[in-house]
Amino acid sequence: MKVRSNAPSLKGRIADAAPERFFWDRTARLGVNDLARGTSFGGRLGELAGRSVIVATSSQLTTALALIELDGVARRLTILPPDTAADHLGPLFACAEADAVVIDAGTLDHPALDLPVRVVCAPAIVPTEEHSLPYVPTEWVLLTSGTSGVPKMAAHSLASLIAPIGAGQSLDGTVVWGTFYDIRRYGGLQIFLRAIVGGASLVLSCAAEPIADHLARLGRSGVTHLSGTPSHWRRALMSPEIKQISPRYVRLSGEIADQAILDSLRATFPEAGIGHAYASTEAGVAFEVDDGRAGFPADFLDHDRDGVELKLVDGALCIRSPRTAGRYLGAQHALRDHDGFVDTGDMVERRGDRYVFAGRRGGIINVGGLKIHPEEIEAVINRHPQVRMSLVRPKQSPVTGAIVIADVVLKADCARAGGEQQQIKNDILQLCRDALPRHKVPAAISIVPVLDVGTTGKLARRYG
């Protein structure tokens, strides 16, 4: 299939791909050039034209193929992350006004994916003739890494998604991007788009692939640019296979990068450029910091940088830029304030010439990129008959990232013997395991005599 090389769609952007460029996951390695001239939809792309399409693929490779073909063809693309709860699908489909779904071998039999048009995307490319489908500006809908309840749906355009990608990208086909981050989330999607716009190859991960195998595969691919969350990098640094890779550029995003992880990466990759990006699904990429220090220079707040403006409102970072999402689909509240700023909810504090991140407003805890409201966990703990009150808080650890700790006050008439306390702790943990997903179960319970209650009568929560 030929597509005009000046076409604004993703497919148009790979029309003149260098022959050595590839997409590679554990199961298949595909030439970008082949995709430019072929299709992974078995001749059914036309059925998706002008529709609101749910991308419900199980593998990242088929996701990548579907996104490339659907941009500029579908009216709206809603990308489902792999952990989307089955009972959220109905509300999400309704909100997206979805009338078509793209599935792959792994989601073929999913009973909830029953939209009027179902098209299978396969990791095998068949050459096709040029299609004559009209170009439509596709709306890209990403789900926020929600706390509880149905995730919010942030609507981007291809323009807002690729706005952070600098013009200085090498187009010589020698860049090989890798991402630990799933491309169905904003941070991973950025890397996918960087590979396409920047003329690079891309190595994708598979959920079932052991980290050692993934690192070995990255090594074999000659990966030059590699991205992941601080949690991903901590995990990679614990694998002996880290020696297999020698990237020129190491990128962190999706969680706040602390000095310990930056220093560890510097020690492991002394020659590499190391950058940490601040980004969220709603706010887009706000900035990238490449001086190897945690936080960001204070003067970022005073200047418009590449069209991105930052301001603080009651200590919280707010962002206005062409990179933010435009709106939430179907939500009551606005994604931007009346001046166009997105409130990130991330608290920052000035330390000398830097701003450093001081946790989330409202005590929201980020565990491996998943946001947790402490109140939800406290409500479960407080069901235990011997619990008076509880406070769930994050604990930072340079090796493991944030984890959830619960401080618990027992009722006065409860015995205080050590053995009995241990039994109560075990009971509380069991209660949490029965009621909550694994990442929300406290890593440890500590029995405390008292909890601070602020002047508002609310539990005193400290940031981070």
């Binding site: 052991p210 220093d263 560890s264 565990v367 440890a444």
Partner: protein, 85 residues
């Protein structure tokens, strides 16, 4: 109970809680191959702090990334020696 046995006991318990199967716990076992995932390790470090009263990872100036179970046990043994000294 020795630190090593405490660690191994907690690993078994956390693996059971998380529905994971542990590999045989030998000193040269690569931690990532042990059967615990990163959340499992986060829980392990937190429980060890609860049990032993030390968290050598947070206390350390530089981040340490132990590769094997033997390395991991050593980190705790030397942290406890420092705490006693």
């Amino acid at each position: 109970m020795s630190i090593k046995l405490t660690i191994m006991d907690l690993m078994q318990r956390i693996a059971r809680e998380h529905g994971k199967t542990l590999a045989p716990l030998r000193d040269d076992l690569v931690l990532l191959d042990s059967g615990l995932d990163s959340l499992g390790f986060a829980v392990l470090v937190a429980r060890l702090e609860d049990t032993l009263g030390i968290d050598p990872f947070t206390a350390a100036e530089d981040a340490m990334f132990p590769l094997t179970l033997g390395d991991f046990v050593k980190v705790y043994e030397s942290a406890q020696q420092r705490a006693v000294a």
